[in-house]
Protein backbone atom coordinates (compact mmCIF):
# COMPACT_ATOMS: atom_id res chain seq x y z
CA UNK A 1 0.00 0.00 0.00
CA UNK A 2 1.37 3.40 -1.03
CA UNK A 3 0.88 6.52 1.04
CA UNK A 4 1.36 10.26 0.66
CA UNK A 5 1.93 11.05 4.32
CA UNK A 6 5.36 12.59 3.76
CA UNK A 7 4.00 14.82 0.99
CA UNK A 8 1.00 15.88 3.07
CA UNK A 9 3.22 16.56 6.08
CA UNK A 10 5.52 18.69 3.97
CA UNK A 11 2.54 20.54 2.53
CA UNK A 12 1.21 21.30 6.00
CA UNK A 13 4.72 21.93 7.43
CA UNK A 14 4.24 19.26 10.07
CA UNK A 15 6.99 17.16 11.65
CA UNK A 16 6.68 13.41 12.27
CA UNK A 17 6.63 14.19 16.00
CA UNK A 18 3.67 16.57 15.63
CA UNK A 19 1.73 14.05 13.55
CA UNK A 20 2.58 11.31 16.05
CA UNK A 21 1.33 13.40 18.98
CA UNK A 22 -1.90 14.29 17.19
CA UNK A 23 -2.64 10.68 16.26
CA UNK A 24 -1.49 9.12 19.55
CA UNK A 25 1.31 6.93 18.24
CA UNK A 26 5.11 7.09 18.42
CA UNK A 27 7.26 9.00 15.92
CA UNK A 28 8.89 5.72 14.95
CA UNK A 29 5.47 4.34 13.98
CA UNK A 30 4.83 7.35 11.71
CA UNK A 31 8.26 6.79 10.15
CA UNK A 32 7.53 3.08 9.63
CA UNK A 33 4.21 3.92 7.93
CA UNK A 34 5.87 6.54 5.70
CA UNK A 35 8.48 4.00 4.64
CA UNK A 36 5.73 1.49 3.82
CA UNK A 37 7.01 -0.98 6.41
CA UNK A 38 3.88 -0.91 8.54
CA UNK A 39 0.24 -0.69 7.49
CA UNK A 40 -1.85 1.37 9.91
CA UNK A 41 -5.22 0.26 11.23
CA UNK A 42 -8.42 1.83 9.88
CA UNK A 43 -8.71 3.90 13.05
CA UNK A 44 -5.21 5.36 12.68
CA UNK A 45 -5.76 6.00 8.96
CA UNK A 46 -8.99 7.88 9.78
CA UNK A 47 -7.19 9.90 12.46
CA UNK A 48 -4.56 10.92 9.91
CA UNK A 49 -7.30 11.83 7.50
CA UNK A 50 -8.81 14.10 10.17
CA UNK A 51 -5.45 15.70 10.99
CA UNK A 52 -4.66 16.42 7.32
CA UNK A 53 -8.25 17.34 6.49
CA UNK A 54 -8.39 15.17 3.37
CA UNK A 55 -10.14 11.84 2.62
CA UNK A 56 -8.36 8.59 3.52
CA UNK A 57 -8.12 7.48 -0.11
CA UNK A 58 -6.06 10.58 -0.88
CA UNK A 59 -3.51 9.54 1.73
CA UNK A 60 -3.43 5.79 1.12
CA UNK A 61 -3.81 3.94 -2.15
CA UNK A 62 -3.59 0.30 -3.13
CA UNK A 63 -0.70 -0.95 -5.22
CA UNK A 64 -0.69 -3.79 -7.72
CA UNK A 65 -0.51 -7.07 -5.84
CA UNK A 66 -2.29 -5.74 -2.73
Amino acid sequence: MKNNIRVERARQRMTQQELAERTGVSRQTINAIEQGKFNPSTVLALKMSLVFGIPVNEIFELEEGD
Partner: protein, 151 residues
Protein backbone atom coordinates in the same frame (compact mmCIF):
# COMPACT_ATOMS: atom_id res chain seq x y z
CA UNK B 1 -7.86 1.75 19.02
CA UNK B 2 -8.59 -1.16 21.31
CA UNK B 3 -7.69 -0.67 24.95
CA UNK B 4 -4.79 -2.85 26.01
CA UNK B 5 -4.89 -4.35 29.46
CA UNK B 6 -1.27 -3.91 30.46
CA UNK B 7 0.43 -2.70 33.62
CA UNK B 8 1.81 0.87 33.63
CA UNK B 9 5.31 1.43 32.21
CA UNK B 10 6.75 2.14 35.68
CA UNK B 11 6.03 -1.49 36.64
CA UNK B 12 8.98 -2.50 34.50
CA UNK B 13 11.19 -1.26 37.35
CA UNK B 14 9.26 -3.49 39.77
CA UNK B 15 9.78 -6.40 37.37
CA UNK B 16 13.50 -5.69 37.11
CA UNK B 17 13.78 -5.51 40.92
CA UNK B 18 11.98 -8.88 41.23
CA UNK B 19 14.25 -10.33 38.55
CA UNK B 20 17.31 -9.10 40.45
CA UNK B 21 15.98 -10.58 43.71
CA UNK B 22 15.32 -13.90 41.97
CA UNK B 23 18.43 -14.05 39.84
CA UNK B 24 21.11 -13.33 42.46
CA UNK B 25 20.28 -16.22 44.87
CA UNK B 26 19.63 -18.49 41.90
CA UNK B 27 22.98 -17.81 40.31
CA UNK B 28 24.72 -17.92 43.68
CA UNK B 29 23.67 -21.38 44.76
CA UNK B 30 20.65 -22.97 43.11
CA UNK B 31 21.98 -23.44 39.58
CA UNK B 32 25.47 -24.60 40.72
CA UNK B 33 23.65 -26.96 43.12
CA UNK B 34 21.63 -28.44 40.26
CA UNK B 35 24.65 -28.76 38.03
CA UNK B 36 26.70 -30.39 40.81
CA UNK B 37 24.68 -33.55 40.33
CA UNK B 38 23.15 -33.53 43.84
CA UNK B 39 19.64 -34.84 44.34
CA UNK B 40 17.27 -31.86 44.20
CA UNK B 41 14.85 -33.63 46.57
CA UNK B 42 17.42 -33.21 49.34
CA UNK B 43 17.49 -29.42 49.20
CA UNK B 44 18.16 -27.94 52.65
CA UNK B 45 17.18 -24.66 54.31
CA UNK B 46 20.01 -22.72 52.65
CA UNK B 47 18.87 -23.78 49.23
CA UNK B 48 15.25 -23.03 50.08
CA UNK B 49 15.99 -19.29 49.86
CA UNK B 50 17.53 -19.64 46.43
CA UNK B 51 14.70 -21.94 45.44
CA UNK B 52 12.27 -19.20 46.50
CA UNK B 53 14.17 -16.75 44.33
CA UNK B 54 14.24 -19.13 41.41
CA UNK B 55 10.74 -20.54 41.56
CA UNK B 56 8.77 -17.53 42.86
CA UNK B 57 10.58 -14.28 42.11
CA UNK B 58 11.78 -15.12 38.60
CA UNK B 59 8.37 -16.23 37.24
CA UNK B 60 6.82 -13.21 38.98
CA UNK B 61 9.34 -10.85 37.38
CA UNK B 62 8.78 -12.49 33.99
CA UNK B 63 5.02 -11.92 34.23
CA UNK B 64 5.45 -8.28 35.32
CA UNK B 65 8.02 -7.51 32.61
CA UNK B 66 5.95 -9.21 29.90
CA UNK B 67 2.71 -7.46 30.81
CA UNK B 68 3.90 -3.91 31.44
CA UNK B 69 3.58 -1.19 28.83
CA UNK B 70 6.34 0.38 26.84
CA UNK B 71 6.68 4.20 26.96
CA UNK B 72 4.39 4.57 23.94
CA UNK B 73 2.25 1.51 23.42
CA UNK B 74 0.72 1.83 19.96
CA UNK B 75 -0.49 -0.57 17.29
CA UNK B 76 3.02 -1.16 15.88
CA UNK B 77 4.12 -2.33 19.33
CA UNK B 78 0.96 -4.45 19.65
CA UNK B 79 1.85 -6.13 16.33
CA UNK B 80 5.41 -6.64 17.55
CA UNK B 81 4.05 -8.30 20.70
CA UNK B 82 1.91 -10.65 18.62
CA UNK B 83 4.83 -11.59 16.35
CA UNK B 84 7.08 -12.21 19.37
CA UNK B 85 4.38 -14.37 20.94
CA UNK B 86 4.00 -16.39 17.72
CA UNK B 87 7.78 -16.92 17.50
CA UNK B 88 7.87 -17.99 21.16
CA UNK B 89 5.08 -20.51 20.52
CA UNK B 90 7.05 -21.98 17.60
CA UNK B 91 10.20 -22.24 19.77
CA UNK B 92 8.16 -23.92 22.52
CA UNK B 93 6.77 -26.52 20.10
CA UNK B 94 10.28 -27.21 18.76
CA UNK B 95 11.57 -27.65 22.34
CA UNK B 96 8.67 -30.01 23.07
CA UNK B 97 9.57 -32.08 20.03
CA UNK B 98 13.30 -32.24 20.68
CA UNK B 99 12.80 -32.61 24.47
CA UNK B 100 12.70 -36.42 24.47
CA UNK B 101 15.93 -36.47 22.44
CA UNK B 102 17.73 -34.47 25.13
CA UNK B 103 18.32 -37.51 27.32
CA UNK B 104 19.76 -39.51 24.44
CA UNK B 105 22.12 -36.73 23.32
CA UNK B 106 23.20 -35.50 26.77
CA UNK B 107 23.26 -39.01 28.23
CA UNK B 108 26.49 -39.65 26.40
CA UNK B 109 28.11 -36.56 27.93
CA UNK B 110 26.73 -36.13 31.47
CA UNK B 111 25.52 -38.26 34.39
CA UNK B 112 21.87 -39.22 34.79
CA UNK B 113 21.53 -36.93 37.83
CA UNK B 114 22.66 -33.80 35.96
CA UNK B 115 20.20 -34.55 33.14
CA UNK B 116 17.45 -35.00 35.71
CA UNK B 117 18.33 -31.65 37.29
CA UNK B 118 18.49 -29.96 33.88
CA UNK B 119 14.98 -31.23 33.33
CA UNK B 120 13.93 -29.51 36.58
CA UNK B 121 15.61 -26.32 35.40
CA UNK B 122 14.14 -26.20 31.91
CA UNK B 123 10.96 -28.10 32.58
CA UNK B 124 9.21 -24.96 33.79
CA UNK B 125 7.02 -23.36 31.16
CA UNK B 126 7.60 -19.86 32.53
CA UNK B 127 11.02 -19.84 30.86
CA UNK B 128 9.03 -19.17 27.70
CA UNK B 129 8.05 -15.79 29.13
CA UNK B 130 11.73 -14.87 29.18
CA UNK B 131 12.14 -16.15 25.62
CA UNK B 132 9.16 -13.98 24.62
CA UNK B 133 10.65 -11.02 26.50
CA UNK B 134 14.02 -11.48 24.81
CA UNK B 135 12.49 -11.67 21.31
CA UNK B 136 10.17 -8.73 21.96
CA UNK B 137 12.80 -6.44 23.50
CA UNK B 138 15.36 -7.14 20.76
CA UNK B 139 12.75 -6.55 18.01
CA UNK B 140 11.57 -3.39 19.80
CA UNK B 141 15.11 -2.04 20.05
CA UNK B 142 15.95 -2.93 16.43
CA UNK B 143 12.73 -1.36 15.06
CA UNK B 144 13.09 1.80 17.13
CA UNK B 145 16.66 2.24 15.92
CA UNK B 146 15.62 1.60 12.32
CA UNK B 147 12.77 4.11 12.41
CA UNK B 148 14.33 6.73 14.66
CA UNK B 149 15.78 8.93 11.91
CA UNK B 150 13.28 11.35 10.44
CA UNK B 151 13.63 11.56 6.65
Amino acid sequence: MKKQHLLPHSWQWVGLAALFLGLIPSLKSFIPFLLSGSDYRQIGVAEAISQFGFLIMMPLSAVILCFSREKIEDERIAELRMKSLATTAIIYVILLIIGPLKGIILGRLFSHRIISNLHLLFGHGWWMLFIYLLIFKISYWVQNRRYSNEK
